[in-house]
């Protein structure tokens, strides 16, 4: 007992104390996620109905009458898919250029810095920028404007996520291709993109999830309408704004539907997040280890 007392000093108590509060902090963070999900599910689920996801708003919908938010679901799907496709066209070349030509050089650092800075610009500023641009060009809120702004918001997220995985590619694979006489472009297109496909898919889905949840930017650029858009030049509804506008309503029935819309949005975003994990694990089977 004497020995034990001698070695169990103040610093050991501090050690135990720090470890305990660290565990508590971890539980608080994990608990926050649980609380958020529980709040959204317990309030959204009772208001969720088949009509909500299969109908567009009918007359008097915003006073509690019949209809659903199919316009916002389809609108968000258009906006986020369009934005993501456009973002891939820009992100993949940048990520490949960083890998093939810049690497860890000074200029590579500058490009990464500019991407990180872009990532930090809040979506409301992108929205205001889009709005300023639309005034200058004389355009009105439309699906196309929303897609372009979302592509810009997704661009830095997607590129940096791609860059992080592409950077970690084993150099031997490249060397083997170079030794056979391939050009840098051929290596980038035929070796890097295929070997890094799981990471690229993860990056794309990460950006898609960000795009579909973004509200502040589409508020300025895509507008809102009860109709499903039939052309790129028409305004379109979106899920985040459907949540936002319905919660602002004085009618309890409409607010309830806002909670249901929030649940739908949460389910989509979580499915994309978990789906990307699953998909990248599956695709990993087809790469060179």
């Amino acid at each position: 007992m004497g020995m034990k007392k001698k070695y169990f000093q103040r610093r050991h108590i501090v050690e135990l104390f720090m470890k305990t509060i660290m565990r508590i902090a971890l539980v608080i963070v994990a608990g926050a996620l649980g609380l958020i999900l529980w709040t959204i599910i317990s309030r959204g689920l009772p208001a969720l109905s088949w009509d909500m996801v299969s109908q567009v708003p009918k007359g008097g919908y915003y006073m509690g009458k019949e209809g659903g938010i199919l316009n916002a679901i389809i609108g968000s799907a258009y906006l986020a898919s369009g934005g993501t496709l456009l973002a891939i066209l820009i992100s993949l070349p940048i990520a490949l250029y960083l890998k093939a030509y810049l690497g860890d050089s000074k200029w590579g650092g500058y490009v990464r810095l500019s991407l990180d800075v872009l990532w930090g610009i809040p979506s409301v500023v992108y929205g205001a920028f889009g709005f300023a641009l639309m005034i200058i060009l004389g355009l009105r809120a439309s699906l196309l404007a929303g897609i372009i702004i979302l592509a810009l918001i997704e661009l830095p997220i997607m590129t940096r996520a791609m860059d992080e995985v592409i950077r970690r590619m084993p150099a031997e694979l490249e060397h083997a291709a170079f030794a056979l006489g391939s050009t840098k472009f051929e290596v980038a297109l035929r070796v890097v993109t295929r070997q890094m496909l799981p990471g690229i898919v993860t990056a794309v889905l990460l950006a898609f999830g960000r795009g579909i949840g973004d509200a502040a930017s589409v508020l300025f650029t895509a507008g809102y309408t009860d109709r499903i858009p039939t052309s790129l030049m028409r305004p379109t509804a979106s899920l985040p704004l459907a949540v936002f506008f319905q919660l602002g309503s004085p009618y309890p029935e409409v607010q309830q539907r806002g909670y249901a819309a929030a649940l739908i949005l949460t389910i989509i975003v979580l499915a994309v997040s978990l789906g990307s994990r699953w998909l990248s694990a599956r695709l990993n089977k087809y790469t060179v280890k």
Partner: protein, 328 residues
């Protein structure tokens, strides 16, 4: 080697025999030039956003002067009075409360994950943080509205009134639950995945030899972290906090839904506030109907952008340097 890549190489060889080397070199050069131009896009975009906002905000900056705009305390667009001061202070209050609530917990969690946790705990924590980061701002807003605002109104405000009522920054004058504290709590959760992942990444740059040397002479793990690891990563932690703050500064929808949106200069965490992003998003509809209103709102976006650009560039430079540090 897998079949996948083997096939790939045969195909490249076939093409090589078909097309001349010169053609492939030209194709490579063309791709290089195209990719180079696309790579310039991020820088171009930062400049374009700044210039476009500056151009549209210029009418009001030239009419009122920058200091009158930033320090003006009255906001009555109908009378032509555009003072950003209450909104700037609202932004500062909300961001500060969010960061102060978030950073201690984030620091503890990231130290735990980097230094103590088993691989299994770590692999459980990652998806939790990913999901927290994936939840859209508007959903955070709904959570704030349904859970945090009533919690502040029914629990925190009475408690604070009872025990801290004499301290002015904790006094409760307008008990609704909508206000700085509610927004700060929501923000604290929103920015935590970012702060945790950045601090965690910095901790993993410290070589294990340093820790082993300290542990070998009998220091406890916490002593090692405090005396050996923390001094090495301190600048990175500061940068992570600044990064989190800049994320909080620009958060719009979630804050807008719980902060009360009253353009007064706040004095207590229970007061309502009206941060700049909320101002921009709330008034976009009417801004074309009043003279200079659109210039004022785009000017507000410009102010936000400039502050966030400075925060971001500084913290990213520190982080880039720390993550690429070479250890002798």
């Amino acid at each position: 080697m897998s079949r996948f890549i083997t096939q790939d190489i045969t195909r490249t060889e076939d093409q090589a025999t078909r097309s001349s080397a010169a053609l492939r070199t030209r194709q490579d050069q063309a791709a290089k030039r195209t990719f180079f131009i696309i790579t310039l896009l991020p820088v171009f975009l930062i400049v374009t956003i700044t210039v476009a906002l500056l151009v549209r905000a210029w009418p009001i900056i030239s009419a009122y002067g920058l200091s009158d705009l930033l320090l003006g305390e009255v906001w009555r667009p109908n009378n032509g009075q555009f003072g950003f001061w209450p909104f700037i202070l609202g932004t500062v209050w909300v961001t500060t409360v969010g960061v102060v609530l978030s950073v201690p917990a984030c620091l503890l969690v990231s130290i735990y994950l980097a230094e103590y946790a088993h691989a299994r705990t770590r692999s459980l924590a990652k998806p939790i943080l990913d999901l927290l980061a994936a939840i859209p701002p508007v959903v955070y807003g709904v959570w704030g509205l349904l859970a945090i605002v009533p919690f502040v109104d029914n629990v925190l405000a009475p408690l604070s009134d009872r025990w801290l009522g004499s301290v002015s920054i904790f006094s409760v004058t307008q008990p609704t639950g909508f206000g700085i504290l509610s927004a700060g709590i929501v923000l604290a959760v929103m920015i935590s995945p970012l702060i945790i992942s950045v601090i965690y990444e910095i901790f993993s740059t410290v070589p294990h030899d340093l820790r082993h040397a300290s542990l070998a002479v009998g220091a406890t793990q916490w002593q090692t972290i405090r005396n050996i690891v923390l001094p090495q990563v301190a600048p990175g932690i500061l940068a992570a906090v600044v990064l989190g703050a800049s994320r909080a500064l620009g958060e719009t929808i979630a804050v807008l839904m719980v902060v009360g949106n009253v353009p007064n200069v706040p004095t207590s965490v229970f007061d309502s506030a009206y941060p700049l992003p909320a101002l921009i998003a709330n008034n976009y509809g009417e801004m074309m109907s009043i003279p200079l209103y659109d210039a004022a709102l785009l000017g507000a976006a410009l102010v936000l952008l400039v502050v966030i650009l400075i925060f971001n560039i500084l913290s990213t430079l520190v982080l880039q340097r720390m993550l690429r540090r070479k250890w002798a």
